[in-house]
């Protein structure tokens, strides 16, 4: 249970995640227009975006639980 808590990682991943969500909020109309196009490479956009958010926001959520002290129970 000892060890350093990942405060820096939490802040960095939090900033990345928040920036991504801010972009979504600011450019909502443009994003919706582009992301529903079905020609050329456009259908790949929702998939790539979902992956990108899962890495950034997933990392943030993971660090969040670690910093608040909720960790997996160790075996033994």
């Amino acid at each position: 249970m000892t060890g350093r808590k990942p405060y820096v990682e939490l802040v960095v991943s939090g900033l990345v995640s928040a920036s991504l969500y801010l972009l979504l909020f600011l450019y909502e109309a443009e994003i919706m227009q582009i992301y529903t196009r079905t020609d050329t490479f456009y259908p790949a956009l929702p998939i790539i975006t979902a992956f990108a958010f899962s890495f950034a926001h997933g990392a943030f959520a993971g660090y969040f639980w670690e910093v608040v002290g909720i960790r997996a129970k160790r075996k033994g």
């Binding site: 979504l24 196009r37 259908p43 998939i47 979902a50 997933g58 959520a61 909720i70 129970k73």
Partner: protein, 356 residues
């Protein structure tokens, strides 16, 4: 199938908040039992005015990254049998294909109400039988007083593992089982078939892995996340090709569910294996009630029964309320069991400390 602007709704702050909460609890349940959330998320989005197909597409596109993050977490705990997940996913893909075709056939032959009736009846029949079986097992473990014990292998699984068919035997190291592909193929196929029908293949996949193949509950629920990832990714690509994913809904759901799925995954390390079965059975049986309530509505639409419009509205409300209750009960048991497990660990440490 070009989308029009009308297919995508405007979102209010309250709607965003409710999607965040449902996303979180849905994630918590799927991190814990491998699936869940989809059965509430799709109708919840539809009740906000999102067209059915956009709700399914956006939900699907949020499901695969959630499953990926959940699977990664549980892989680190040693719970994931990747080989079993990939083998089952292969036949699940065929099941999804067949299930979607059958859905289309039902819809073209019996219309929207016929299709809805088929889906609801499939929900009720599968969930009552499988959920009842899981509950009976959980009660049996509780009564025997061996709740701390690891999973017992069912009689069916013992038989399945004893069948030797040369050239078809596969060894799954993490689950520590050796079974014939002739058993994994139909199980994967049924998982895919159910996923295409009711959107929650895990209600067959997880109990199938536990009771038919003999995989431990912890491994089965984590491995289901691999199947959910593969199926979710495939489904999302298909929907994206038709421009049906509302990326805003997907990302709002992810904002809540990525917190939930990791908490649920951590939760599995604190609870006894039988708690996983209790959560699964409770959710399955409550969802069965929810779907059972709308059967008379669809029968009325097909002119088989006659109900007043007010009654139909109330039955729809009640059905949705039961879905929310199912998710809430699941989340409540998980958090309760986690707190109990955490307290036990703290107590153990305190008792051990003075002895040293």
């Amino acid at each position: 199938m070009e989308p029009t602007a009308a297919q995508f709704i405007d979102l209010t702050a309250l709607e965003v908040l409710s999607l965040l909460v449902i996303g979180f609890v849905g994630g918590l349940v799927s991190g814990f039992i491998g699936s869940g959330g989809a059965f509430v998320l799709t109708p919840a989005m539809m009740s906000l005015g999102v067209p059915g197909v956009v709700a399914v597409a956006s939900n699907m596109c949020h499901k695969f990254p959630k499953a990926l993050v959940g699977a990664y977490r549980r892989y680190r705990f040693g719970h994931v049998d990747i080989k079993l997940g990939l083998v089952l996913s292969a036949s699940a893909a065929a099941g999804v294909w067949a299930g979607a075709d059958f859905q289309r056939y039902v819809k073209s032959s019996f219309g929207e109400a016929g299709s809805n009736l088929y889906v609801s009846l499939a929900f009720v029949v599968v969930l009552v039988i499988v959920g009842g079986f899981v509950l009976r097992d959980a009660i049996g473990i509780y009564r025997s007083g061996s709740t701390h014990a690891e999973d017992r292998t069912s009689r069916l699984a013992k038989w399945v593992q004893s069948v030797e068919i040369p050239g078809t035997m596969i060894h799954f190291k993490v689950s520590n089982i050796r079974v014939s592909a002739l058993f994994t193929v139909p199980l994967g196929f049924a998982t895919g078939l159910l996923a295409a029908t009711i959107a929650v293949g895990g209600f067959i996949g997880v109990p199938g892995m536990i009771y038919m193949l003999g995989a431990p509950a912890l491994i089965a629920t984590a491995t289901e996340l691999v199947i959910a990832f593969v199926m979710g990714l495939g489904g999302s690509i298909k929907f994206a090709l038709h421009g049906l994913v509302d990326i805003r809904l997907t990302l709002i759901l992810l904002a809540g569910s990525l917190f939930g799925v990791q908490l649920g995954a951590i939760g599995t390390t604190y609870v006894r294996p039988y708690v996983i079965k209790v959560v699964m059975a409770a959710i399955m049986l409550i969802v069965a009630v929810s779907r059972g309530l709308v059967v008379p509505v669809y029968l009325t639409q097909l002119n088989v029964m006659s109900l007043g419009p007010r009654t139909m509205v109330w039955l729809n409300y009640a059905s949705f309320a039961f879905l929310v209750i199912a998710l809430g009960v699941g989340g409540f048991i998980i958090v309760g069991a986690m707190l109990q497990g955490h307290r036990a660990v703290v107590l153990q440490k305190r008792q051990a400390a003075p002895a040293k």
